[in-house]
């Protein structure tokens, strides 16, 4: 019975996706109805996930699945973040498509399939299942980016994403093969046992294989130098999809990455040096890309790279004493709330056919729409890490963790990078508050997004008071 509870959220999203696919075939449901249904399904799965009490490692249906899946507090919280991201992306989509073309009823179906893949990804404990979950997620996201075939931008974005994604996926499979060759198993537990037995660095196939697997994850997480696709793809995708990719995909990737690195402390130890340099390069490359952008979507994509850098810092410090995956999830939640907030706000402010997406388009927003501007300012300040927002607490935990793990250099560079990031976050605030408005920011009325924005702005502060207890 308990096993059923653990995978119930997974089942709910999967079944929900199929349900929407079926329902979409009939004329009964129109866009509004499907939107509500999609959001309802996300909310439903979220509350099931919330009620599940899984402390300690649980292997649901161990005889049937042979220990392919594992559930614990870490996966529970990661799942909660993913489902919340899904909910708010669906909310953004509901508003977005009242003033943008290119809606198909199956949109919410793909959103739920992607969430299904992500939930699975957080729970996997085996390399082949991991690949399947990764591909379920990726295929759904490819579709979400490019289902509007008439739009050249979308087509370009999905092409880039698909080709590079397939490229990275191939490396993953190759890596999995090598790991199997080196250890004779694809199960995390068995690999961990082999490492504990005969050591890690003395096993070339294992090292090479995990190197390729790591590469695939770093590509998905957009770490330097595998970050280049992210700007174009985020820019080309519809706004709600960009929001979903920036938050939910990142959450699931970092969850599985942390799980993989923690197979055995030696595996983690083997990659610390790499992650150390990659995190620094990623943070600074992201900052440098971000300051040159005029388009908000591209700026947010670049800032997403910077946040990947911070999360890599957290991975470096992973497993050291008194520091656990809790900080990673806290950061993901804080980053997710702020990013989603911005995208939800953009989903109604951007107007017909994404007319307003550059910095200059938001001139004087504070005078015309003071509450929206205030919420956006809160999100930006949270991303920049200004107290008392959730973003500040997230950075605080990560940087404190880096100090405790003995990486003072990393901690200091993290702080420097967060100062540099103020450049482009404050730029939008300055534009909103200190320029004269030139337009009236007319938006579609009677949509949920403004309400969602305010809820998320409250969450920015609420989360910051929630202590890390993982």
């Amino acid at each position: 019975m308990f096993d059923v509870m653990v995978i119930l959220p997974l089942a709910a999203t999967g079944a929900g996706a199929i349900l929407i696919m079926l329902v979409a075939a009939f004329e009964t449901f129109r866009r509004e109805g499907i939107s509500i249904l999609g959001m309802g399904l996300f909310a439903f799965a979220f509350f099931i996930q919330l009620t599940v009490d899984n402390s300690g490692d649980i292997y649901p249906f161990a005889e049937v699945f042979n220990g392919m899946l594992v559930a614990n507090t870490f996966t529970k919280v990661a799942g909660l973040i993913i489902l919340a991201c899904g909910f708010f992306s669906a909310l953004a989509a509901q508003t977005y498509f009242t003033q943008n073309k290119g809606f198909v009823l199956e949109f919410y179906c793909m959103l739920l399939f992607a969430a299904f893949g992500m939930l699975l990804l957080t729970m996997v404990a085996e390399l082949i299942t991991l690949f399947i979950a990764l591909e379920i997620m990726s295929l759904a996201v490819y579709t979400l980016v490019g289902y509007d075939r008439h739009s050249v931008v979308r087509a370009e974005a999905v092409l880039k994403y698909l080709m590079l994604g397939a490229f990275a996926g191939a490396f993953y499979v190759m890596g999995a093969v090598l790991v199997y060759a080196g250890t004779g198993s694809t199960s995390f537990a068995a690999i961990g046992a082999v490492v504990a037995d005969s050591g890690y660095l003395s096993n070339p196939a294992l090292v090479g294989g995990s190197f390729l697997i790591l590469f695939a994850f770093l590509f998905k997480a957009a770490a330097f130098p595998f970050h280049a696709w992210v700007i174009d793809v985020y820019d080309g995708a519809p706004l709600p999809v960009t929001a979903f990719m920036a938050t939910a995909v990142k959450t699931s990737i970092f969850a599985v990455l942390a799980n993989f690195l923690l197979i055995n402390p030696e595996v983690h130890q083997g990659w610390v040096t790499f992650l150390f340099y990659l995190s620094i390069l990623t943070m600074f490359a992201g900052n440098l890309i971000a300051i040159g952008q005029q388009n908000l979507k591209r700026m947010l994509a670049a800032s997403g790279i910077v946040h990947t850098g911070y999360l890599l810092i957290a991975l470096v410090a992973l497993g050291s004493e008194r520091f656990s995956g809790g900080a990673i999830l806290f950061y993901l939640a804080a980053y997710g709330v702020a990013t989603l907030g911005l995208f939800v706000a953009l989903s109604y402010l951007s107007g017909q056919d994404e007319r307003r997406v550059s910095f200059d388009d938001f001139r004087g927003l504070a005078k015309v729409r003071p509450y929206s501007a205030a919420c956006i300012a809160i999100f930006l300040l949270s991303m920049a890490g200004i107290p008392p927002t959730a973003g500040f607490m997230g950075k605080f935990y990560i940087i404190a963790g880096a100090f405790q793990a003995g990486h003072a250099v990393l901690a200091v560079l993290g702080i420097v990078s967060s100062i540099l990031s103020l450049w482009y976050y404050l730029r939008l605030i300055i534009v909103m508050y200190f320029r004269e408005p030139e337009q009236r920011f007319e938006v579609a009325e009677l949509t949920l997004a403004p309400l969602g924005t305010i809820v998320l702005a409250v969450c920015v502060f609420a989360i910051s008071f929630y202590p890390v207890v993982l």
Binding site: F167, F211, F215, P225, W229, F274, N287, G292
Partner: protein
């Protein structure tokens, strides 16, 4: 010994919740759609009134306990926890805080009701009530806090609200300047308070930083540290309670709406300093020197305030200086270790001073916002309720027996005399005479004689019931509050002093019958002399005098504001400008701008590699992979 009472937490919470709700209502509707004033008024008044009822409830709960164990506390939540030290948001109800609680909530509720009438038609009606509720909530935290830190939360909260409300009519630059002045001067005082609190913590705070623990450990405090702490805390009190040398903000604070002057700058907030000294009576009782400093500064402030009050023309300024002067009395009381007398004067003063201010507000409203007493006159018939209630307030302030002010002031003067502080007593009696003089100067000029401005007089009308009702309630208080602490010589039992005794560390001086008679005789004589001079000069309808010589000097408040401006403000501003003109552009800005330029250029350079071709991106990935593989193989030596 201690009981727990969870309703304590609700007392400050209710007005705070009201402030939040009102604030949101106001923000949500500030552009266009207006909510009716009735709804704002209802939401605004319900919190204070419920708090008052709860306070009464707490009073009876406390009274049911035996005298020496009258403590009720409630720990709402853990505020923070550092190492072994845990500070919780705790509330403590003991006789002292409950007395404060009762009159703060009562007077607060009445002034809320009065404001419905006074602020009617104000475009930001909801904002005003939100601030007023926020103030009351902060004040209640200040009073109920179970330790210096929680008190400080309320202390800062009331300071903030005071600032917001002084600058309430912010279209006028002068009001904003007055608000700034109040805030800055208060911050100077707060500096002393924080420092004193820190020293106190350093000394004996490790064992628990709430009043009960501090009181138990007070004897461990080294004498020099004790004096330092007491004096620094008193610096805080001089800021908040407008004593020499930081009294200058209070008269300017009259720029705020009149109910604010009544509630914040007369009845409640400004007495916080006195309350604080009484709260720390266990410290002040240990170091007599600190008490003497407090007493002398207090009585000198009383004198100064009375001198200034005699030569003002603005009805609110007169009352403001009178407040400064009365606060001086209170400090003289707590300074000579007569804590219950000082607190009793706080209590009675709240009634009659709030009454006088609200009456003044009624007059100002009747005359369409004229405040110069030399434009008034003969208003007795036009504003009968205002006149009679203000007369009661004036008699109480002037110290006429048997009005409340007489008993409380007499108690302080008697304590000073019996304690051997003859100088303080003598000045106190002099000030009592001056008080009677300036109070009745106001009454005679405003209400008696002939109207000085016929047109204004003809348009004057009595205020609505919602304003006169609080006046009447307060007048009853001003009339009878004194009987609560009737001294033995009049056949009383000093209930208030006995009630307060468990909270205070106080030694009652045992003066002889002769001392008591001397004290009472002095007070009564001073009152009679003061009022008769005022009667002779003003009752018949005097014209505005032209001040010369000393009077002009006093009218200009001894040019203290100008002195502060020259000695402190201008040099400080000069230094600031020097920094701005020289150091900022050349020393700090230069490198910063250069760094920013470099960063920007690097960003532009980096933009180049973002070419947009998939093949190029794939090449980046391959290059990255290759470099990483190379490093890996080098480091592992397979």
């Amino acid at each position: 010994m201690e009981g727990n009472l969870s309703s304590l937490g609700f007392i400050p919470l209710l007005p705070l919740a009201g402030a939040l709700v009102l604030g949101l209502m106001h923000l949500a509707t500030c552009r266009g759609r207006l909510i009716s004033e009735r709804i704002y008024a209802l939401v605004g008044c319900i919190g204070p009134i419920l708090s008052f009822l709860l306070a009464v409830n707490v009073f009876f709960a406390l009274q049911a306990l035996p005298a020496q164990s009258r403590f009720l506390s409630h720990q709402a939540f853990t505020w923070f926890s550092v190492g072994e030290l845990t500070i919780s948001m705790g509330f403590l109800a003991d006789p002292l805080s409950v007395l404060m609680l009762l009159f703060v909530t009562l007077v607060g509720s009445l002034i809320h009701v009065y404001s419905i009438g006074y602020m009617a038609g104000d475009p930001a009606f909801g904002k005003f009530f939100s601030y007023l509720n926020l103030f009351l909530g902060s004040m209640l935290i200040l009073v109920l806090g179970d330790g210096p830190l929680v008190m400080f939360v309320g202390w800062e909260g009331v300071g903030l609200c005071s600032y917001l409300l002084i600058s309430y009519y912010s279209e006028d630059r002068g009001n904003v300047v007055a608000g700034n002045k109040a805030f800055i001067v208060n911050r100077i005082g707060d500096f002393g308070f924080v420092l004193g609190m820190s020293f106190l913590f350093w000394g004996i705070g490790a064992e628990g930083f709430d009043y009960l623990s501090l009181k138990a450990n007070a004897h461990l405090l080294a004498p020099t540290l004790g004096i330092t702490v007491c004096l620094l805390l008193f610096v805080g009190a001089t800021g908040k309670s407008a004593q020499i040398p930081l009294y200058v903000w209070l008269p300017d604070a009259m720029a705020g709406p009149t109910p604010v002057s009544a509630l914040i700058h007369a009845a409640t907030m400004v007495t916080a300093g006195v309350y604080m000294v009484a709260r720390f009576s266990f410290l002040y009782a240990q170091v007599e020197v600190a008490g003497l400093v407090v007493a002398w500064i207090g009585i000198m402030t009383a004198l100064l305030g009375a001198i200034f009050g005699m030569f003002q023309n603005d009805i609110k300024k007169i009352l403001a200086y009178s407040t400064v002067s009365q606060l001086g009395y209170m400090f003289a009381g707590v300074g000579v270790a007569a804590y219950s007398a000082g607190i009793f004067h706080v209590f009675t003063h709240a009634f009659f001073k709030a009454l006088l201010f609200l009456g003044a507000g009624s007059v100002i409203l009747a005359l369409h916002h004229r405040q110069d007493i030399w434009q008034m006159g003969g208003l007795k018939n036009k504003l009968p309720i205002t006149y009679w209630t203000m007369l009661i307030g004036a008699l109480a302030l002037a110290g006429c027996p048997p009005f409340s002010g007489f008993f409380s002031k007499d108690e302080i003067l008697y304590s000073a005399l019996a304690g051997g502080h003859t100088g303080i007593w003598a000045i106190g009696v002099l000030v009592a005479g001056m008080t009677a003089y300036y109070t009745f100067r106001l009454i005679f000029v405003v209400f008696h004689g002939q109207p000085r401005d016929r047109e204004v007089y003809d348009h004057a009308h009595e205020s609505p019931k919602v304003m006169t009702l609080p006046l009447i309630v307060l007048a009853v208080g001003a009339l009878f509050a004194g009987f609560l602490n009737l001294p033995a010589i009049f056949g009383g039992h000093q209930q208030v002093s006995h009630w307060l005794a468990p909270s205070l560390t106080e030694v009652h001086p045992h003066g002889s019958m002769a001392t008591e008679v001397l004290a009472i005789g002095g007070s009564v004589l001073a009152f009679v002399v003061g009022i008769s001079i005022a009667y002779r000069r003003f009752a018949g309808g005097a014209e505005q005098p032209v001040f010369t010589g000393f009077r002009k000097f006093a009218y200009h408040k001894f040019y203290v504001d100008e002195l502060y401006d020259t000695v402190l403000v201008r040099p400080y501003r000069f230094v600031g400008q020097a920094v701005q003109r020289v150091i900022e552009p050349y020393v700090t800005d230069g490198p910063v701008r250069a760094a920013a330029w470099l960063y920007r250029m690097a960003g532009l350079a980096f933009k180049v590699i973002q070419v947009g071709y998939v093949r190029v991106y794939a090449i980046y990935m391959v290059i990255g992979l290759s470099v990483m593989s190379l490093v890996l193989s080098q480091s592992l030596n397979f």
